[in-house]
């Protein structure tokens, strides 16, 4: 039972950390799109979030498709797991 609880805790921690990381990335991308004067669309789950300036001018359009959003989640999680696994394997106790 303790192992199951530990496994669920680890899974929740992984998901929460990836969610926070993706939220930070979204904030960064929105900031960049306002600095670079872009019209940004992020698609997820059949819906999209659009960030555009109030006035209509010919700004460049950047659309992050659903596949791109999903790939971003997977890439972030994969990088974290790869780094964690590498450290776990290479860990040695301090002399």
């Amino acid at each position: 039972m303790r192992r199951v609880a530990a496994a669920v805790s680890v899974l929740l921690l992984l998901l929460v950390s990836v969610a926070v990381a993706e939220a930070s990335l979204l904030a960064l991308v929105i900031l960049f799109s306002s600095i670079l004067e872009l019209r940004l669309v992020v698609e997820l789950g059949g819906r999209f979030v659009q960030v555009a300036p109030a006035t209509y001018l010919p700004f460049p359009d950047v659309s992050i498709r659903e596949a791109g959003t999903a790939a971003s989640f997977v890439f972030t999680l994969a990088c974290g797991l790869a780094a964690g696994a590498r450290r776990y394997r290479r860990w040695r106790p301090a002399p």
Binding site: L25, F32, I35, L36, S63, A67, G68, C79, A83
Partner: protein, 153 residues
Amino acid sequence: MKSLLRLYPRSWRKRYGQEMEVLVEAMPGRLGIALDLVMGAAVAYRDVIRGNRVLAAAGAYLHGICVAVLVQAIGFVSLVLAAQQWGLTDLRIGPFVLATVVPSGPFFRLGELSQAMWVAVFRSWLPEGILLAVLLVALALLLAAPRLLRRLG
């Protein structure tokens, strides 16, 4: 100043807390000493994390996630730059379209530009260039952070 000792890990405070309190009480309340105490707390946490396999892996996991976020931010700015330069519209992996960029105006190939247009194009790329430079510096610092932390204390 004594309240800064709460920043230290519990195991460290159990072992050295009382001695440290006496020492800190005898010291003047200067900013340099406060900074020393904060750095000492960071070093103490670093030692606790490095001494535990699971904690070390968790720290590396979080570090890896931060690197991934920065790399993707760099990728986003590079995508916008590439779209301006080469008129890139779709970023694909196989049948999957990850992103679409539609430039607003005509794109220029560098070889076709006159000198005056070079200046105009350089100015239009300046925000992206500065952003990219800042992100690359941040990524370099983040990648160097574990080594820098090892050199502390």
